[in-house]
């Protein structure tokens, strides 16, 4: 259970990026946080594993402030950033995936075992010795996802994972996300691209100008999307189940 309580952040010039955010994410849930550019989604995400220190308010993981033990927090809450290129630190896919586990000082044997199982899980075994720079967009995104998963987080936060991907790329990434959700991970997906993923979520949070404007079940919020600055997926009276790019 991850709880955000009264989180506020103000820029030096006085503008509020985050304005008294109160949210809680229950275990095994799949939440989509949507909002126009500049609504504070990414800043919120940076607070969730302690990259940013709350100016006021706090974030609790199972009742304990996440800042008490940042290592533990970052192990449990994995972040997948928006730009895949700039979060790849290894020179090969395999060495990039191992990076997090090496920092946790696991033994080489344990790291290699986990690496093998992740490569199989994501079906990227044949990419293991490739240079990340030469991968396609979807492959990069999955490599980054695997790299976060090696630390065995319970909660996975993804920031705009579909940006710049072609259809196959979107499908592959979406498949992985839904699979992880089925395995019991808590998923928090930040996107303004509802059409590709909304069908899988059990909760939708809409943000605008730094505050939460709507919070509820996706089906109930469909009609209020446009007023929150999000484009409603195309089609008259379109049902929720169709809002996915995964083939049925």
């Amino acid at each position: 259970m991850l709880e955000v309580q009264g989180l506020t952040r103000t820029y030096t010039e006085g503008r509020k990026v985050l304005d008294n955010i109160n949210l809680s994410f229950s275990e095994g849930s799949f939440t989509i946080i949507a909002g126009p550019n500049g609504s504070g989604k990414t800043q919120l995400m940076r607070h969730l594993n302690g990259l940013l220190k709350p100016q006021s308010g706090k974030i609790l993981l199972r009742g304990r402030d996440i800042r008490e033990n940042l290592t533990e927090t970052r192990k449990r809450i994995g972040l997948v950033f928006q730009n895949a290129d700039s979060q790849i630190v290894g020179q090969t896919v395999a060495s990039d995936i191992c990076f997090g586990a090496e920092n946790l000082k696991w033994s080489r044997k344990r790291i290699n075992e986990k690496l093998e199982s992740l490569l199989r899980e994501f079906s990227i075994s044949e990419l293991r010795n490739r240079r990340p720079h030469t991968l396609s967009g979807g492959e990069k995104r999955r490599c980054v996802l695997a790299a976060v998963l090696i630390m065995e987080p319970e909660i996975i936060v993804l920031d705009e994972p579909f940006t710049g991907l072609d259809r196959d790329g979107v499908q592959d990434v979406l498949k992985d996300i839904t699979r992880l959700h089925k395995e019991g991970k808590t998923i928090i997906l930040i996107t303004h691209d509802l059409e590709k993923s909304l069908a899988h979520a059990d909760r939708l949070v809409l943000m605008d100008k730094g505050s939460v404007v709507e919070d509820g079940r996706p089906a109930d919020l469909l009609d209020r999307l446009e007023s929150a600055g999000i484009r409603k997926p195309w089609g008259e009276n379109r049902d929720l189940e169709s809002m996915t790019w995964l083939a049925p």
Partner: protein, 258 residues
């Protein structure tokens, strides 16, 4: 363009390929230091050694890039002219200049052998293992930094070309004001670089980057003992041979040169 970085490494399974990178590096540096003082003896002893290594690759040597071919000529002329202008005899100026040119070629040759047989991917772990024995040096940080820059070079190169092309296509490239061109190009480039650094350091922090992580793995099986023995044996023979020759009073032409 990005491919040109990796152009020089040629995968293979020769003795040199299988030798440990650290040992190759140390031997290469040691031999370069030995060659600071040139002599006919040292150079002629090194020649079969290098030839042997080249043959062990069992492939045709790569043609060197064009500018490299000019360098020996430049070094020879420069040395010869200045020596001849000084008080040296014409013949000795010729020989010294020649020896220095050969030295340069040999060092270049060694560097080529090293790059051709060393996978850059293994370089940073190898470097880490080399540095961690030296006290006070943050080996983990240095090797991470090297690894990061290796990953970033092709990315940044691409960005540079894109910015230049974007400028040219907006007619922003004025041949008469190079200063303005540079500033206009540097601004987006450095801004982009800063954004990249921001994203990268956040990602590294989120993935708990630390200096004393589990040691990086050396890829493949690399042999240490054989190349180390061969290298030190060679240098030993060289120094011993030189000592014997100078004691036996053979002509200084052979052993002594600048």
């Amino acid at each position: 363009m990005a491919g040109s970085l990796m152009f020089q490494y040629q995968p293979g399974s020769s003795v040199l390929h299988r030798s440990d990178i650290r040992v190759k590096l140390i031997i290469m540096i040691a031999l370069s230091l030995v060659l600071i003082q040139v002599s006919v003896f040292r150079l002629s002893l090194l020649l079969p050694f290098l030839l042997l290594l080249q043959c062990s690759l069992k492939r045709r040597p790569l043609p060197p890039p064009l500018p490299v071919l000019f360098m020996p000529a430049l070094i020879f002329t420069g040395n010869f002219l200045s020596l001849a202008a000084g008080d040296a005899l014409l013949s000795s100026a010729l020989i010294t200049a020649g020896l220095r040119t050969v030295r340069f070629t040999f060092i270049l040759w060694m560097a080529q052998l090293f790059t051709e047989t060393s996978d850059p991917m293994c370089l940073t772990p190898a470097f880490y293992r080399l540095l961690k024995h030296i006290p006070l040096i943050p080996a983990g940080r240095i090797s991470t930094q090297l690894g990061l820059s290796l990953t970033l070079i092709p990315v940044i190169l691409e960005e540079m070309n894109e910015i230049r092309d974007a400028m040219i296509s907006r007619c922003g490239w004025n041949p008469r004001s190079p200063l303005k061109n540079l500033v206009h190009m540097g601004q987006p480039l450095l801004n982009g670089v800063l954004l990249k650094a921001e994203a990268l350091s956040d990602a590294m922090e989120a993935r708990l980057f630390t200096e004393d992580s589990t040691e990086p793995e050396l890829l493949g099986s690399s042999s240490v003992l054989l190349p180390l023995l061969a290298g030190s044996l060679f240098i030993l023979i060289l120094l011993a041979g030189e000592y014997v020759l100078s004691r036996s009073g053979s002509s200084s032409f052979f052993v002594q040169f600048f």
